[in-house]
């Protein structure tokens, strides 16, 4: 279906339009990246409504602070992904989120807490699940924490009771593994 076809523009074009505040570009940007960013957000925040709120906040922030993006310092997507991750983590630690936890019905609570404590995979991306499962368990554990759960590497080290250096190395090895798979 042509209506569902994603619009793609090259990064320099996107950045140029974004920084000139061309309203049309936001639509394009949304169509290109909303699902990738939502993938990141929804793994940090499994509560659908809150995750969608964060997605909205993410695009508002992208739109409003477009002038702060410096393309010499990294790719546009990295910048956007970090906005999404930071907002997700903020939300995760905010009163809002804790209240929403409290507001859950008792019956729902068990599964809700479970949801918060495990990494769930979108069945649409089964191939990726397999790919991540192909990672060695210790690499996967670190990547889960920092990528999906919004932990800093310092927090991950505490959680896994590992030296900081080891955590850093494992993150690197995990990403190298991903690079190998994608290239």
């Amino acid at each position: 279906m042509s209506a569902l076809k994603k619009i793609t523009l090259s990064e320099p074009e996107l950045v140029l339009a974004l920084q000139s505040k061309d309203p049309a570009i936001l639509k394009t940007l949304y169509s290109m990246y909303s699902s990738s960013l939502y993938g990141v957000i929804s793994r940090i925040i499994t509560h659908t409504e809150l995750a969608e709120d964060v997605l909205q906040e993410t695009f508002v922030k992208i739109w409003q602070s477009a002038s702060h993006y410096d393309n010499t310092k990294g790719r546009l997507f990295t910048w956007m992904m970090n906005i999404a991750r930071n907002l997700s983590i903020d939300k995760l630690r905010s009163k809002d989120f804790k209240n929403s936890l409290k507001n859950q019905d008792i019956e729902n609570n068990v599964s809700f807490v479970d949801d918060q404590n495990k990494v769930t995979f979108n069945p649409d991306v089964l191939g990726v699940k397999q790919l991540v499962e192909n990672l060695k368990p210790d690499l996967q554990a670190v990547l889960d924490l920092v990528y999906y759960k919004g932990f800093t590497h310092v927090e991950a080290a505490e959680k896994l009771e590992l030296p900081l250096g080891t955590v850093k190395t494992r993150i690197r090895l995990a990403i190298i593994e991903l690079r190998r798979n994608f290239n």
């Binding site: 209506a3 639509k27 699902s35 997507f77 992904m81 979108n122 994608f182």
Partner: protein, 289 residues
Amino acid sequence: MSVENLKAYIESGVLELYVLGDLSPEETVQVEEMASRHPEVRDEIAAIEQAMEQYAMQNAVEPSADVETKLFELLGLNEEKESQNIASTSLDSNTTEQTKVVQLDTNYTKVRTLRYALVACVALLIVSLASLFITYNKLNDAHNQIASLNLDKQKFAGVVSKLEFDNQGLSNMAEMTDSKEWATIRLEGQKFSPSSKMKVYWNKQNKNVLINYVAMDLPKTDAEHEYQLWALVNGKPVSLGVFGGDEKAKEALVKMQAIEQAQAFAVTVEPRGGSVNPTMDKLTVMGGV
């Protein structure tokens, strides 16, 4: 920085943390400085970024459509303005432009369709309520009509039974007047009730005596009294039985006791059940044979 040191720096994992946004501002500045000085660092960062971007793309989850709607509402970017801007944008090719417009239209149409559906539903509801109200009123009217028709029917039934009663009496009277078997005795009003009159029918052969309510005009008696029919046989009154007022009769024609011979018939008002001897001051009607 020596090649070994640079390699160690790259392998320390700091660049991954940089891409993940997990460094302090000072460390971030350091990495950026390194990147600007060493192409190897820059390339490594680009490779990590690309891997993470790929990873995110593959893990994409489609958000619900109303996030987009809400977002554009929130930013006050109205859709019409956008499509104009799209048209004036030199960035995208024709196909992109077309795709874009189609996408907007789908959303637009969906919302508009829903809006129409809502309006249609409300209209339907109003029409339904109105027709329900009209139907209810009509039903009430119908109920009233049925009730009044029932009343009429009862009235007619009453009239019909009265007519049947009269008809029965009249036809009997006619038959008996015609036949030679029956003698008709006219009883005229007496001092007690001058305007009263009635007829008594006496069969010459079997001596049966009949009275006919239709051929009778007597004043109504009260609850404790009724009429008694007498035959005068050789100057002596003989009771032929009692009969009540007009309204108590089921048949127009009532058979009284037979009498072998009589010179006259008379009716008196007597206490309920009748008397042995007639109360002469309440002699209502009398007539000779």
